[in-house]
Point group: C2
Chain length 373, copies 2
Amino acid sequence: MEFKVDKGVLGEALALVSKAISNTAPIPVQINGVLINVRNDSVKLTGSDSDISIQKTLKVADEKNRLEVIDEGDIVLDARYLQEIVRKIDSSIITIEVIDGTFTKISGNKAEYKINGMRAIDYPNIDFNIDTDRYKLKVSIFEKIIKQTVFACSDKETRPALMGVNFKADGSVLTCNATNSFRLATKKVLLEDEMHFDITIPAKTLNNVASALVENLDFEMAIDETKVSFIFDDTIIRARLIDDVYPDVSRLIPASFMQTLQVRCRDLLDAVERTSFIKSEGKNVVKLTIDNTKLDISSNSQEIGSSHEELDIIEFIGSPITISCSGRYLNDALRSIGSEIVILNFSGELKPIVITEKDDDTLTQLISPIRGQ
Amino acid sequence: MEFKVDKGVLGEALALVSKAISNTAPIPVQINGVLINVRNDSVKLTGSDSDISIQKTLKVADEKNRLEVIDEGDIVLDARYLQEIVRKIDSSIITIEVIDGTFTKISGNKAEYKINGMRAIDYPNIDFNIDTDRYKLKVSIFEKIIKQTVFACSDKETRPALMGVNFKADGSVLTCNATNSFRLATKKVLLEDEMHFDITIPAKTLNNVASALVENLDFEMAIDETKVSFIFDDTIIRARLIDDVYPDVSRLIPASFMQTLQVRCRDLLDAVERTSFIKSEGKNVVKLTIDNTKLDISSNSQEIGSSHEELDIIEFIGSPITISCSGRYLNDALRSIGSEIVILNFSGELKPIVITEKDDDTLTQLISPIRGQ
């Protein structure tokens, strides 16, 4: 096995497939290992921990790869060492050659490294051939869905369903929900093509997909029994779906509100951030006191002290209200807002705060209040 | 106690005095606490862990401080919270006011914080008045001394003397030595004024002094029995000296050599860095094989593999030699070299490698070889 490839291209490909490499992989050769399959027309790099697998294909035909295949073959190399070498080598073209069994030479310019590889035959067979229906998706839309929902997922393994974002396509509308049962992010997207599915994709997978997204490039999604695949031009990300019923969260969002506040999103976000270090037992709680003229933000902790700030508002409809919630949740929700003006809706101090955008009704962020603060 | 001060000035002053604040302080109020002494003409900020104390004076007379003293007084505040507030507050002027006992209000623009302070009376009395001789030093020279020696200190507490840099002024020459007994950095400086002392300053103190140095500003050093003080315009750094006899290291440097190599410093440093991840039991060892035409750098590890690279040399005098040493030590030594060309001197493969600059004979870096590699 021997090939030459552009250093930058190889470095980026390794960075991408390495996202799927983790210590939790069930088979030793997968841990730290990147599978390299060299064929006359291409080199495929694969990283996988069985839950998520990423394969990048470098084609000879693609000039920017500067790929030259001298000898076909397969090898598994330690991705960390390979990345280290690619980062450090002082040459724009890198040659990788198996010289004896799994012993592999990596060279460029006057420097050469020899590292012990592992046998490709010991690497599990990961099927990247997708024969189910494929859905075309726009990168810009998918990116927004991830940015606006994935942070609201739970990181607790006690309820696996909540560790992912639920994607439910019901004909022409795709509804994406993420919740940890104290907050909920809901994004609705109008679909160009008719789609029908109800799947929950792990947050980790979505973060990996987000980092693989290349601007203005569309991609396809394919779903089978237990897996979802994201198919890009040269990259396939294939991940296990969460096999757990997603709760019905649609009833959580109130249909009407008692109070509605409009405020400049940036001002509110800055003020919330300024209180973030005022923590009680590790948690920052912000108290919002709102009337027709102003929004008052305060935070209090026995150990540290208190903060207090007044903000100008744009509009408030309803009777004055005082309500407390997690500063971090409020911060996350406000960060997901794209419009200049944010709307906070209330139904009394014991009911969730519902945050929406002024110019776009497709996003809803819901945060449970904290009582008695 | 109440004063107003420029946000940027306060932030920088806190960052500086915080370098002396550590968990190892013997008195609780010192841990995380910054002492603030407000007088009509100035505000003094002090941080100390007893081993090292830093005091910054903000004078009303200095316009850039934008300092206005409304009420004199003293308080100790948690430096972390104060820094956090200063970083986040949305105002170029910050007001700090003790409102009740030690309860302190910090405000700017529309935001205000109230934090619990501590009593200044509980803070140890640190004497910053220096009545011994003062030596004038140039920042540019002192900076170079620190950069070229301090990395070679030991981090092991078994031999306290080696945890600092020894400064020995013998009339017109200042000799600075740092060693961990496997490597030695020696810098000699010609003094403009006659000086006589022999002190060992902890590496940690020197790193703090380095970060307090302001370009092109001279400062003074004063030494008494057990302490050294660095006196800047508005800042005093006062630190405990290492109370342990410094070993005589002058005999370690050979007077003559059997082989001398000249090579471009950058080329050698890059090549050494490229081998750095080839580690055996956590240690990277580089083997240098040199003859009249080239320098061969290699590195080998059972676990990871090997690296090999050839470098062009400028000149080699002597018979061919093969010698091994710590890659990290060689890297550190080469980084301290200011000239384009570095000289490596050898006296056989069992004797130390002595590294000097081509255009400057004031710096000597010595590295013990590693046998049988």
